[in-house]
Amino acid sequence: MKIFGTFGLKRLGAIALAAAILGAPVMMAHPALAQDASSASSVAASSAPAAAAPAAAPAAASNDAVVTYPKDAVNSGDDAWMLTSSVLVLMMTIPGLALFYAGMVRKKNILATLAQSFGATALITVLWMVIGYSIAFTGHDPYIGDFKYFLLAPLNGDINIANTDLAPTIPESVYMFFQMTFAIITPALIAGALADRMKYSAFLLFMGAWLLLVYCPIAHWVWSAKGFLGTGGSIGALDYAGGTVVHLNAGTAGLVAALMLGKRKGLGTENFAPHNLAYSVIGASLLWVGWFGFNAGSAVEAHDGQAGMAAAATQIATAAAALAWMFVEWIVSKKPSVLGMISGAVAGLVAITPASGFVNPTGALAIGVAAGVVCYLSAVHLKKLIGYDDALDCWGVHGIGGALGAILTGVFASSKINSAGKGWLYDGNFHQVIAQFEDVGIVFVYCLVMTFIILGVLKLTIGIRVSEEVEQEGLDINLHGEVVHG
């Protein structure tokens, strides 16, 4: 079997890592266990019949008051929207992201690029169900979730329970699924940095390890009820839909991966022009369309104006960024490229992600323009200057755009839009900007170190890069035994 190299020693290393992937949560169990008493009781509370629960449908909540819903009180409209949002976010990865990336590579690597998004989707789904959701979104420990949801066990007994901390008005199955789609796209984004040269076996192991060792902890820190980085924790950073958790995180991992893999053979001398940008336009469009599940879905309900305002902010920032990138490029390079327009749109989507539930339309416009200009500079000029080979600009767009958006969230957040978010400009709360910087810094450093370790282990054991010949001939035929004839 070719999957795990050929030497006993290397195989050993790989098996160790595979074990680590599945074992990671076990290792994390110790600190988590300390929290068990409290979190267990909260789960118990949520599954106990809510005595005084009103039988009527929930009244529309004002966006200030925290409404407690009884366990069976699924709000059908909230449920409908969150199911739809989950499906939209899944569509962002397959086929959205898959096509966005596949259109930019050379013909011989199209299928391998599609296989990365598709394979990651399958693998992460299973890992998420086994343990990912449990360590990311349950419990009240500030650093890591607990183990109660191993194999999603609590859902076996009652389909109507809710994650009362985070999503009280929808079934927990839906919230778990919604968050799963985030967990899928985040590692999948990294593929943009390692295009055209990574072994598929190493890629899958990397995806799995990174999910459990990097994504899950960070998601817990920022989004769980008492996570230390988020609004329920000591730092109090705002990240509506994942500017740091998703985009800065994936971007940073991409940067590390690009550096550790090295440049693609022929870069600078051969023609690396995208084979079929039509695919990339389809992909970018589906990313845009699906992103409403991402941002407006992060309201986790549809019974007040939160989701709608997040949707409006998303649309405005995205369009502004697409125009900004296009016009800057038009002026600098004399032509508005299609790749520029769609990259600008993605940059806008990325930057508005952390801000979407906190800013008003004008704030969204400003963030969009900033994202278009800054990401253009980073993806086109900074990369050239420094010289790493972030093939499809995972760092340049997601890393830079995510950090930019996170910081600007501190600037533009308005408590009139969301009482949980008081920003600098409208509410005079400069402290929020500092919290955002802390969030960015911590996520960046943690991700950098951990990604380096994971890829380092893989490099020393099974190797992460294909042979020169395989790279030359193309990944499609060599890794997957297929080619695109069209």
Binding site: N271, F272, A273, P274, S333, S337, L339, V380, K384, D393
Partner: protein
């Protein structure tokens, strides 16, 4: 018999074909090719990287004609393919020793 090889601009294909037919050529074969010469290719830009496309799209027509018809055929191509701009292309003439029509087995001029 001679093989006339003409490398011309793609949008001239139909004109050249009609001219050849007008000159009595009854069959020809066309390939899409990329040319390198005085005419420079255009520049593609992708996220700041410029790719000088050194090759220019061309079409290659190949027609085998009777010795007697060569002059007329060459003239026809010349007239039809010319725009006066760089990159109009070339005509080459190569000797052909034998020609066979597969369907009938005819050989020589009868096979063309």
């Amino acid at each position: 018999m001679k093989l006339i090889i003409a490398i011309v601009k793609p949008f001239k294909l139909d004109d050249v074909r009609e001219a050849l037919v007008g000159a009595g050529v009854e069959g020809l074969t066309v390939s899409e090719v990329k040319g390198y010469g005085r005419q420079k290719g255009q520049t593609e830009i992708y996220r700041g990287a410029e790719y000088q496309v050194v090759f220019v799209p061309k079409v290659k027509l190949e027609a085998v004609v009777d010795d007697a018809a060569v002059g007329k055929a060459v003239e026809a191509v010349k007239a039809a393919a010319a725009t006066g701009k760089i990159g109009d292309g070339k005509i080459f003439v190569v000797n052909v020793e034998e020609a066979i029509r597969i369907r009938t087995g005819e050989t020589g001029s009868a096979a063309l």
